[in-house]
């Protein structure tokens, strides 16, 4: 068997392993197996490539691998689970930049004999790759709170963004018409970089689950495009799988907010809204953790509703402690997880898993909503908009139509919140003023710990 043929077989095998890897993720039981299958596929792909191609400079190759390892391993080992969204944004930035750089290298390598099809794919690959790079960098900065999570809003911003994007595309088209116009390439790259920056600057922090998913999709698609350029089928398969994964996740996130892609990308939701307060001063009674403990004492079913506030306060371990104390008293505890709670798809599940919450206690929205009417106490920890009944009742509310957790149907609602500030959507939450709601103000971790202490004393 020739080396070339062997390499092709190894690529096919790697592709199969990647597919099985995703298949493994359908269940927790098989997920780790899936991860190992993926790793094996990657190893095969790299070995096959090294068999097939003689590198000009092995020293540089080894150096690059060492640098990659030195960056990658500490992140993988030390990263706190609350920072997983940031690391995901960063890996999209790395992945898309890698793809974009290879595309650029390929252009100069082939120059000036580039056929139009290759140029068209190269141009779209570079535009996607570079815009995903800057977009992901901004997403990282917002999630890490290096910059404000508020969307950057100025008049005509969508026009400016689309103009920049249009310019990048126009330059791409010009390159397809005459691929030897190499002077146009850097301008196209700058436009793509600028568009990614402008796009994500205009998106608010709580829309990050969708944005991350979209960037994930773009990173995958640009890798697939690179596969077309190199006539490398493994790259097409792997990139496409990644692209469709990001696409589906983004779709799920949009559905869970009842918003469209366009609205998330260009709507600028999350900007400070001028308060449309009717002037009526509504009062809220603040309760103490001890009051909550007293109510919990007589409960049978308690549902905990976590949100980004739980992540921000690192309260997941305190929440687990509360679960243990309640279960010790024979009280059933479940968790209600909204698809967009947190800063990335599945964020809450990971944090609770980290705190060793058994995953069969984590309920999806539909399951949870069936249980709320039977629930004695619903405890909302750092969530807001995803519980706002205005989404069901007020057609003029920006939240209207969004599927929510029906927390208000529980006998008692405990709301742990730092202040009365409005949620991300800038809308007041009716729940605060319901007669069966107990507001407890304070840091989520501190309040939950105090409830636990009070319960232990009782």
């Amino acid at each position: 068997m020739t080396t070339e043929l062997l390499v092709q077989y190894l690529y096919v095998l790697a592709g199969v392993l990647f597919i099985l890897s995703l298949k493994g993720m359908s269940e927790v039981r098989t997920a780790r197996w899936g991860n190992w299958a993926g790793s094996a596929g990657m190893l095969l792909a790299i070995i096959a490539t090294l068999l097939a191609y003689r590198m000009e400079r092995y020293d540089l190759l080894i150096g690059a691998v060492i640098v990659g390892t030195v960056i990658g391993v500490p992140i993988a080992l030390k990263l706190p689970m609350t920072a997983v969204p940031q690391r995901t944004a960063m890996s999209h930035a790395f992945g898309s930049l890698a793809v974009a750089l290879v595309g650029t290298a390929k252009y100069y390598q082939l120059y000036p004999d580039i056929d139009r099809f290759t140029m068209a794919v190269l141009a779209s690959e570079m535009i996607l790759g570079y815009l995903t790079f800057t977009g992901s960098c901004i997403a990282f900065a917002k999630l890490q709170e290096l910059i404000s999570g508020k969307p950057l809003i100025y008049p005509g911003r969508n026009f400016v963004s689309l103009l920049v994007f249009g310019l990048a595309v126009a330059l791409g088209v010009a390159l397809v018409i005459d691929p030897s116009q190499s002077a146009l390439l850097p301008i196209m790259i700058v436009c793509a970089l600028l568009f990614g920056f402008l796009l994500v600057m205009g998106i608010g922090g709580a829309d990050m689950p969708t944005v991350i998913a979209i960037l994930n999709s773009y990173a995958g698609l640009s890798a697939a495009a690179l596969g077309f350029v190199l006539n490398n089928k493994l790259l097409i398969v792997a990139g496409t799988l990644d692209g469709s994964s990001g696409f589906i996740l983004a779709l799920l996130m949009c559905k869970a907010m009842n918003r469209s892609f366009t609205n998330v990308l260009f709507g600028g939701v999350g900007a400070p809204v001028a308060t449309t307060g009717t002037g009526e001063a509504r009062t809220v009674v603040a309760y103490s953790p001890e009051d909550v403990a007293a109510i919990l004492d007589g409960a049978r079913l308690v549902m905990i509703v976590p949100g980004y506030g739980m992540a921000a306060a690192q309260a997941q371990h305190a929440v687990k402690e509360l679960e243990d104390v309640l279960e010790a008293r024979g009280i059933t505890v479940k968790y209600a997880i909204h698809p967009v709670a947190g800063r990335m798809p599945g964020h809450m599940n990971v944090l609770l898993a980290e705190a060793q919450v058994s995953y069969d206690k984590l309920l999806e929205m539909d399951e949870a909503n069936l249980l709320f009417p039977e629930c004695d106490v619903a405890i909302v920890v750092g969530a807001n908009d995803i519980t706002n009944p205005a989404a069901r009742t007020k057609p003029d509310s920006p939240l209207y139509g969004m599927p929510i957790l029906d927390v208000d149907k529980a006998r008692t609602v405990v709301f742990i919140k730092r202040s009365l500030a409005t949620g991300f959507a800038g809308v007041d939450n009716e729940l605060f003023y319901l007669p069966h709601t107990m507001m407890v103000f304070g840091d989520a971790k501190k309040v939950v710990t105090e409830i636990v202490t009070a319960l232990k004393k009782a």
Binding site: S26, A31, G34, K233, N349
Partner: protein, 106 residues
Amino acid sequence: MPEHTPLTAHDIVVNLLIFLLASFLGLELIRHVSRLLHTPLMSLTNAISSVSVVAALIVLADPKNNFIMWLAVIAVALAMSNVISGFMITERILLMFRRRGGGERE
């Protein structure tokens, strides 16, 4: 391995077919992923799509000039860091998913 030969119409059609089939397969596979696992799914697909390291290696095999070579070297470093941290983090996250008592296999 062959030098770069311009793509034939046949290559393009086959690649498009692979792209379409992989899209449908991907949509079906991901649709069935447990919602619990959306975060590790993302870190896994991230690692997998960093198979673009292969593309960087192919360019590095025949760089033509130093500029192209350094672009490819940087790409290898970026993609490798994604590959390594991606699979490792996925493993770390998945290890945390346990059912009480029975461990993760139950």
